[in-house]
Each structure stands twice: as C-alpha cells, then as structure tokens.
Amino acid sequence: MRLIFALTLVAAAFGPAVAQNAEAPAGAAACTGCHPAKAGVDSPVPRLAGRNAADIVAAMQAFRSGGRPATVMDRIAKGFTDDETTAIAEWYAAQRQ
C-alpha cells in the first residue's frame, strides 16, 4: 500500500515530457556503460530508453534505501539526488525504445 502511494506521488511530480533530442542531464550518459544504449544488445541489464520515468525513479529510490536487492545499483543510486534522478528518468523516458 505504501509503495503504491509513493509511486503515485512520484508520478504526480513529473512535469511535461522531455524532448527526445534534449541534451542528456548530468549523469544520464554514464548509465549506458552497463544499460545498453542500443536495442538488440544482449544483456541481463535492462535498457532505460523508453521506460516509464516513474518506474525508473521508484527503482532508484528502492536501490538507494536498500529496499531492492542489488549488486552494484545500491552503490550507484546513492550518488544521485531526487532531482537528478527525476531528470535522468524523464530524459530516458523520452528516448526512443
């Protein structure tokens, strides 16, 4: 119940969608070192392009709090503020899948 409430709040916090050709916000470009930028790259690590922004934010918050088990994302998520995470998530959501 609490998770659903949190997700709703996160979703409500998003403003207008980011243009697909907008410059990547700080930190976003580094993600594709592991999360494939291109479609068709075989990897257990999910692509971020075209994913729902609220889902990315929720995942990052869960990684940061330790609520979601991780190997490395817990350590990385702690390096980004809520605002930075939201900007990155909105940018990826606007990218072609």
């Binding site: 990547a24 930190g27 470009a29 580094a30 070192g33 790259v41 257990p44 690590v45 350590r75 390096g79």
Partner: protein, 425 residues
C-alpha cells in the same frame, strides 16, 4: 593546391566541413563547421568521436589512430589465462566511420597548440578548433632499472593489450607444472588499479586447473590496493598455498629486474621466475608529452567540468592519460569521461559554458571465471577537482553467497559486451 588535394584524398570519409577544414583558421567563414580532432581510438577516443557527432552533427570530427584494429585491455586477463581468444578483444572502426567520423589511421607526431594543428606520420596536417587527446598510457621505460623494450620481450608487461598479451599467455602455456610465476605491481597511479590482482587471480585459476604444483608470487610496491579485502579473502578460499601476495612492507617492492635470468630484485631478496610479468610504472601516452599537456607526474591535469587541459588551452584530455581526481583509470571511466567531454565541447564550440557533469565508474574484476567482484563510484566536480559523491560507491559486499559472485561475473561479461557495442558496434 597539391597539399589540398592530398588532404582531400587522405580524409576520404570527410562528409561535413571538409572544405572549411582546408582553410587556415582566420580565413574560415563565419558559421563554418567547427573542427574537432581526436587523437587515440580506445574507449575514450572512440567514444568522444561518436558522442560529438551525436551531440552536434555539424561538428567535423577526425579520429587519429595508428592502428586500424583496437585490442581492448578489459578482459584481456582472461586471454592470458586461456579463458578467451584475443579475437574477442578486437574491434574495428567501421561503425565509427559510419557515424560520420573521419578516420586517419596514422600516428600523431606533433601538435602546434598556437596554430592549432596536428601533424601526422603519414598524411597532411590537421587543423582543429578543439583537440581531444585520448592516448591512454605509455610504459615509463627505464623507471624500473633493467626494464626496457627488449626486457619486455622476455618479461612481458601485457599492460597494453595485443602481442604482449599473447606472449604472456604463450609463456604460461609452455611453463612446466611446478614452475614459479612472478608478477610485479607498481605504485599508484597506473591503468586499471584492480588489474594486477585480477590477473593474479586468473593466472592462479589457470595454474590450479592446469599446473597445480606451480606457484604464483605477486610482488607489490604498495601495501594497499583496489578491492583488497575482497581479493585477499577470495584468494584464501580459492587459491590457498598457490598465490602469495608480498606487500611493500614485506619486501614486495621490486627495485630492478634482470631479464636474462627472469629475476625480480627487491631490497629483501631475489625472486627468479619461470614466467615473469612486470607491470611497470606508467605515464600518459607520448603525444601528451609532445603536446605539453602532461605535468611532471607524467599525467595530464584537466578542468573537472570540460576536461580541458590546465596547461594548454583548446586541448582536452580524457581517459587513462588524464588526472581525473577520484576517478580510477578504467575503460568505463574513459567512456563516461568521453561523453561528458563531448557535451562540454558542443557547448564550448557554440560559445556557451559547459554544464556541470556527473560521472560514474563501475569496474568488475574476475577472481575466477564464475566469481567477480566490483567497485563503483559516482563523481562530480568539487573545488577544482573531480571528487567522489559522498555516501555513494564502494566495493561488493565482503560476505556474499557464491550466487552473488556468479551474478557479478555475468554482469561483468554483459558490461564488456554492452560497452564495446556502444563504443565500436
């Protein structure tokens, strides 16, 4: 005119800005395509060339690289240990050319920072508005007495992937069971801080499975190294009695080598090896020295936002050659820096200030084929340096089930596939 014709023939793939590039800077028309030359086609250089074309397709990008095939260092320890073929490490530049990057397969031999030109061993001079140097490392020959180019043919460094990697592999393959392998690890800084210890792990794995009466000694010029506790714990579990790490305090610092007898000399004694791997002191690739962007340390101080050299304007340095503060010298970091540098260049070439970046590094090390550990960090500019974001980053959990180590091994594999696809695919 002849020079112009040569140039036109040489820069075959030039699509945009070709004509403007023929004119000296003051004669170029207002609004002409900005020209960026990138020297070095590794993870940093190839990444920045492509990222620049994506950031602003009007930018004319020329990538200067001596070799038409790139051999990647990450995972090359697996080649040494017989776990993979060198072919899995090698990539070409066709996809980079397809992005509109002009390729010049030649060594850069001189840089005139005032005239903003790069001289090539073969081909015409290149003019630039901004230059990116991504030369990786060079061995600091002579810094370790006895270790020169000839010695490296007997005691390979294998710290630049390629022939050296294969030489070390062949030496291990032809060593008898019961032989002694010695690896020497240098002081900081050097390319790939956990690399010597991953190499030791995978060579130990090779010995354990193929030549179990053999011994591996790591002579270290340091007391502290990357992912140390994780490595030491894993070695105790996986390679007891086979792998011995000798720290600085315990006499691990190698003061000279005698290649004829494959001998490592320390203040405390001599270690004769059947296979000797010297990981020597290093510095930024030679062109950094030529350009005047390397300081007395041998590495290149840079602005933490734009990666522009602190010593020479309009030249940016990325990858292993740069002094990037808290960021280690890794392929992941090189790629991360390249994308930041491309964004900064796009802004600077429009006459705008570059935005404050945020960078990530993730480095996996294999301790065995199905056992990996990682270190990660998040970085930002702070007080003129690139600093760790407090509270983020760190290494894998000290205590973890085998399944977690195996999962990290699969992520390591996926990382190499993903990053090489992004950079060269």
């Amino acid at each position: 005119m002849a020079a112009h014709r040569n140039r036109r023939e040489f820069l075959k793939a030039a699509a945009t800005g070709g004509c403007a590039a023929l004119l000296p800077a003051p004669l170029r028309a207002q609004g002409a395509a900005p020209r960026v030359v990138v020297v070095g086609g590794g993870f940093a250089g190839a990444s920045v060339a492509r990222a620049l074309r994506r950031a602003d397709p009007r930018i004319a990008v020329t990538l200067v690289e001596a070799s038409s095939t790139f051999t990647a260092c990450p995972f090359s320890n697996g080649v040494i240990a017989g776990l993979r073929d060198i072919g899995a490490q090698q990539f070409g530049y066709d996809r980079i050319a397809a992005d509109g990057v002009t390729l010049a397969f030649s060594a850069a031999t001189a840089i005139d920072a005032a005239a903003r030109t790069v001289t090539l061993a073969a081909g015409p001079r290149l003019d630039y508005d901004r230059l990116v140097l991504a030369p990786g490392i060079d061995i600091r020959w002579g810094a370790l007495p006895g270790y020169d180019e000839a010695a490296a043919e007997i005691m390979p460094h294998a710290w630049k992937a390629g022939e050296q990697t294969l030489l070390l592999r062949r030496q291990l393959e032809s060593m008898d069971d019961g032989g002694t392998v010695v690896i020497s690890a240098p002081e900081n800084p050097f390319r790939c801080p956990p690399g010597p210890y991953e190499r030791a792990s995978l060579i130990a794995h090779y010995l354990k499975t193929r030549k179990p009466r053999s011994k591996l000694i790591v002579l270290d010029a340091k007391d502290v190294f990357s992912k140390q506790r994780l490595f030491l714990n894993a070695w105790k579990d996986l390679y007891p009695g086979l792998l011995e790490w000798v720290s600085l305090s315990n006499g691990g610092k190698v003061t000279s080598v005698e290649p004829a007898a494959k001998t490592f000399v320390t203040d405390f004694g001599r270690h004769q090896a059947h296979v000797g791997n010297v990981i020597p002191p290093q510095k930024a690739g030679r062109i950094a020295d030529i350009a005047g962007v390397a300081d007395r340390s041998g590495w290149c101080p840079i602005d933490p936002v734009s990666f522009e050299s602190k010593l020479v304007p309009n030249i940016h340095v990325i990858g292993d050659a740069a002094i990037a503060g808290a960021i280690p010298k890794s392929a992941f970091a090189a790629n991360s820096q390249a994308k930041v540098c491309a964004t900064a260049l796009a802004h600077l070439l429009r006459g705008e200030a570059p935005p404050a970046p945020k960078l990530i590094n993730t480095c996996y090390s294999l301790v065995a084929p199905d056992y990996a550990i990682s270190v990660a960090g998040v970085y930002h500019p702070a007080n003129g340096q690139i600093a760790d974001v407090a509270g983020a980053g760190g290494v894998s959990a000290l205590e973890a089930p085998a399944a977690t180590r195996a999962l990290e091994a699969s992520f390591a594999d996926a990382w190499f596939h993903t990053i090489s696809s992004e950079v060269f695919g």
